[in-house]
């Protein structure tokens, strides 16, 4: 499994640097917001957690469509499936690698974009922690979407439509936790724990559901 993790990370570095593209997309989304809402610093800093979360959400969806479709096209999927170790574990590792190469760079880029949106240091810290806890859920749920649309030649758009509604809870609790950290009466711990719980839950459910799908999608 470490071999698989290593291969996935190596592949995403070699093939044009998906980490770079993800962060770039994040940057583009974040910089487009002020054009829409206006350069009002106060308003932007108020909206910053939401902007960063939406940007991260959209950027995390990148590359999901290739997660299994690429393996299927070059024939690797057959051998990935014909193993004694559980397929769900293989999928878990692939989703984890996807997160390391798209989600994690977003978390690391957050301070920079937080400063641009005039977010306070506390707000930046809270955003980073919630993104760190929440974005893996997007990759795990995304793995189900990727498995379901593995045979479709243009699955990318469909995956976004399928996955976005399912990650709404992560967004709700993630932004709620940041608000909790910044404004006094609102709690931070409870929504943050919800984010962690959703990630842990989907880390099991996602790979299992995707493995059922992949077993039966071979043709």
């Amino acid at each position: 499994m470490t071999a698989l993790l290593k291969r996935e990370i190596l592949l995403s570095i070699r093939a044009g640097g998906s980490a770079l593209t993800g962060v770039l997309f994040f940057l583009a989304v974040v910089s487009v917001f002020p054009f829409a809402v206006g350069p009002d610093t106060k308003l932007l800093s108020h909206l910053a957690p939401a902007i960063l979360w939406i940007g991260a959400l959209l950027a995390s969806l990148l590359g999901l469509d290739r997660l299994f479709a690429q393996e299927r096209e070059d024939g690797s999927l057959d051998m990935l499936v014909m193993q004694s170790h559980p397929l769900a574990l293989t999928i878990f590792v692939k989703a984890l690698a996807h997160w390391i190469m798209t989600g994690l760079p977003l978390v690391l880029a957050t301070p920079l974009f937080g400063v641009m949106l005039n977010l306070s240091p506390l707000g930046i810290g809270a955003t980073m922690i919630t993104l760190l806890a929440g974005t893996p859920a997007i990759s795990f749920i995304g793995a189900v979407g990727a498995a379901v649309s593995v045979k479709l030649p243009r699955g990318g758009m469909l995956i976004s439509v399928l996955v976005l509604p399912l990650v709404i809870p992560v967004l709700i609790f993630g932004v709620a936790a940041i608000t909790g950290a910044l404004e006094d009466p609102a709690p931070f711990t409870a929504p943050f724990l919800f984010v962690c719980a959703i990630t842990l839950f989907t880390s099991v459910l996602g790979p299992l559901a995707a493995s059922i799908m992949l077993r039966h999608s071979a043709d």
Binding site: G16, G17, L24, G38, P39, T41, V115, N118
Partner: protein, 258 residues
């Protein structure tokens, strides 16, 4: 043979092998010029008097303003290279375009970072959605997008035309972006920005600034030529590896022959 005599023109360097010969001779000279200009420019910058309004922070300008100029100049170099790719399909034009993009991105980042360092004491914030900074940020995104595009192809020569077309499209749209960002900014009337009205610049500021700009240009041309040389060598390595896979005898074009 007489029909093959090449007039000594810019086209003489358009052959990658000739270019390599030229680059090997030119780079040491360029490096020396760069260091001289940079030394003089920095020395003049540091002995420049304090500004009555900005104090020592004005020194940042000597780093910042040329970087912003170079960010734009690099894009022009890339656009000219793009025309070379589209019109003549010349491999060297693609090499030039590809090697300039990371340099342009670096100058843009330098301009943004130094602008941000200047903004903190002057405006009280690291970042302000001011028209000028915002359009430079858009330029950075364009640069990074082009770099990502250039790396997205398995076979580098396949990326040449897409890259050139995208660069020129960007070149055509950049004035519109600049105009619309200015318009967007005045529409919203930013409250917190105390606009800096530039007083007529005295010669004690102007000379160091101009020499720094020349130094930056020298840095650009040195690095650009080095990057082009690397890119050509990389492509040769690639070709040699591919023929090595086929177990064919590899002939290396001789550098000194021309």
């Amino acid at each position: 043979m007489s029909s093959e005599t090449i007039k000594p023109s810019i086209w003489a360097f358009a052959n990658p092998t000739r270019f390599m010969g030229f680059a090997n001779k030119a780079i040491p000279v360029l490096v020396i010029i760069t260091f001289l200009l940079l030394a003089v420019g920095l020395w003049l910058s540091f002995i420049a008097p304090e500004d009555y309004q900005q104090g020592y922070t004005v020194l940042i300008m000597f780093i910042h303003v040329p970087a912003a100029w170079l960010a734009m100049m690099t894009y022009s170099v890339m656009s000219i290279s793009a025309i070379g790719t589209i019109v003549w399909r010349h491999p060297l034009a693609d090499v030039s375009l590809r090697s300039a993009a990371p340099l342009g991105a670096m100058f843009t980042i330098l301009a943004l970072a130094t602008g941000s360092l200047w903004g903190k004491p002057m405006w009280g914030t690291w970042w302000e959605w001011d028209a000028r900074m915002t359009s430079v940020l858009v330029l950075l995104i364009i640069y990074l997008g082009l770099i990502a595009l250039s790396k997205a192809f398995d076979e580098p020569s396949e990326a040449a035309l897409p890259l050139a077309v995208m660069t020129l499209t960007g070149f055509a749209i950049i004035p519109i972006i600049k105009f619309s960002v200015d318009w967007w900014n005045t529409l919203h009337q930013p409250a917190s920005v105390s606009r800096l009205d530039k007083p007529a610049m005295g010669p004690e500021f102007l000379y160091p600034l101009l020499i720094m700009a020349l130094a930056y240009m020298a840095i650009f041309f040195t690095l650009h030529m080095m990057a082009m040389r690397n890119e050509i060598l990389n492509r040769r390595i690639r070709t040699m590896k591919m023929s090595a896979a086929r177990k064919q005898s590899v002939t290396i074009p001789n550098e000194g022959a021309t």
